[in-house]
Subunit: 114 residues, 3 copies
């Protein structure tokens, strides 16, 4: 089976909850070996890649362990004065979040805005 | 003319109004024989596939009569304790809404989040 | 290098700020000669294509000068009783915003909903 590829776009902190539920349901539905999933956070959404909120951290870490890629936009980090070293260890930074979204769609990733 | 294919994603009840206006304008513009349209509801948006709100029901039914497919995510129905038998008769349930969106984009459907 | 093509969809006035930041970052990142960018406003978002708000106007004009296309949905203009002659001079009107989005995605434009 060809892998299903999808990039999820989160740009507000209040959309994280929906996003994590959507991604979990998707990976459960198709099986983690059959999906290639990225979550791209820009805007204020990068604020949820840091901090002590245990539940969210655990939920993200579990998904990262199942192969989901968590990405942060460097422009957004600068705008919110967040250093890369303060992010959860499974988060990777990209120079410009929108460029990542545009390139991925060009490579056949579906776009989803939860 | 090749059919224009589009999937509309609704995940909050307050986005239904915009969605139904967008879909109506689109079908009016291209002609119902030239479009293949799905509306996929997940999250709390599935709550608007049931109930007594006459105007909304009539507007949806009219679009269904013009070929628009109304879909509900089964995960969302469970989460909101909604039985399939309580949904409007023109609504079809899919096992996982996000999978439907990803597959459809892979088949050339445009994605729109009103 | 092949041009990166993207269409940004704005349907609420409160999403304009994010959209203009996203587009600016994107054009800065890839270089204006390497990108083909459209911003399609429908719904209430068309209200920000008019009026005296200097900062927004200047920011849009600057992007227009760098090749970004600003589009307005004619259905939305009618709904908000806005004449085309009242819009900023760099704004182009399309008959139906959703049709533009669907066609562009069919031509390889990535879709982004800021």
């Amino acid at each position: 089976m060809k892998k299903l590829k999808a990039i999820f776009h989160v740009n507000e902190t209040e959309n994280w909850k929906k996003t994590l539920i959507n991604v979990t349901n998707f990976v459960n539905d198709v099986g983690e070996g059959n999906a290639e999933v990225e979550i791209l956070a820009n805007g204020a959404a990068v604020l949820f890649y840091t901090g002590e909120e245990e539940d969210r951290y655990e939920q993200m870490k579990r998904l990262a362990g199942r192969g989901v890629q968590f990405l942060a936009c460097r422009n957004a980090l600068k705008m919110h004065s967040l250093g890369e070293e303060s992010l959860y260890p499974f988060v990777r930074t990209v120079p410009a979040g929108i460029t990542e979204i545009v390139r991925r769609q060009g490579e056949g990733f579906a776009y989803i805005k939860p």
